[in-house]
């Protein structure tokens, strides 16, 4: 028993040394001492998963109204990250028990990260990001909708 404990400890030590050593040798792609900051503020979905969710749960488009009007995932609500601070953006219109899918203009667009964080702060427990976003949806030739968000048509 005691011997196996030392064997296990040796294996773990070897693995940690290898992991840290290779990381150092590769020029620290991941700092072992800095707390990890996730690139995405919520779990991410692939296009295939997003298609499963589509039509079943609310989708939030985090781009600006102008971009949204030029084309968006049908049924998505327009909630630009730049308007998150406005009181009118109360989340109460959406049932907090529902899963939310947030997207914007591709993997490097930060707006969906902000909106997803705000949704989780507002009490939504199940929030997902679709990093592929609008470009991936469009490239897959899935249905699109053009025009302003009906709820905010006059804005």
């Amino acid at each position: 028993m005691r011997e196996r404990f030392w064997e296990a400890l040796s294996l773990v030590t070897l693995a940690v040394l290898l992991g840290l050593g290779v990381n150092q040798w590769r020029g620290l792609p991941l700092s072992p001492v800095q707390p990890f900051v996730p690139r995405y503020s919520a779990p991410v979905l692939t296009l295939a998963q997003v298609r499963e969710y589509w039509g079943k749960v609310p989708f939030l488009d985090a781009r600006e109204h102008s971009e949204y009007s030029l084309g968006h995932i049908p049924g998505a609500l327009c909630l630009p990250a730049s308007r998150l601070h406005l009181p009118e953006q109360a989340w109460d219109a959406i049932d907090r028990n529902l899963t939310l899918v947030v997207y914007c203009d591709g993997p490097n667009c930060g707006a969906s990260n902000l909106v997803a964080s705000a949704a989780m702060t507002a009490g939504f427990k199940s929030v997902y990001l679709f990093p592929g976003g609008w470009p991936a949806w469009k490239a897959a030739r899935l249905p699109v909708h053009v025009g302003p968000d009906p709820g905010k048509a006059e804005k």
Partner: protein, 149 residues
Amino acid sequence: MRSLCVRLVLAGIWLVAAQGKLLEPVQMAQSISNYRLLPDWLIPLLALSLPWLELVLGASLLLGGLTGGAAALTAGLGVGFAGAMGSALARGLDIECGCFGRGGHVSVGGLILDLSLVGLGALLWNWGPGPWSLDARWAPAQSDSAHKQ
């Protein structure tokens, strides 16, 4: 012979699990972070070590060296993985698993695989490394006595 079979199956699982992740620590950290179970300061260390531990375990089981320790770690990691995946499933999280490189998602099948690691690890713990192993070659007397423990 039965020890050898279990060792080869487990070594295969660990080596396949390790190969897609060894040089992708950032992706691994993101996968771990998606589970929302561990503090942020612990995630990099785990993301850097875990794939290498899988590789080390695979090599150890393949060659039959330090088999007792590897069996214990296999069962222990199986418990840990099953706990993480079970909690993700219970919370309804639809996240990337981080099990075998990119693509796979948390699933009941993954949970069963994790639990089979626990079972096979425990069997190997009981059976010892068997005759075709470095352990038996280095210390034949000890591998015999492993059955009597």
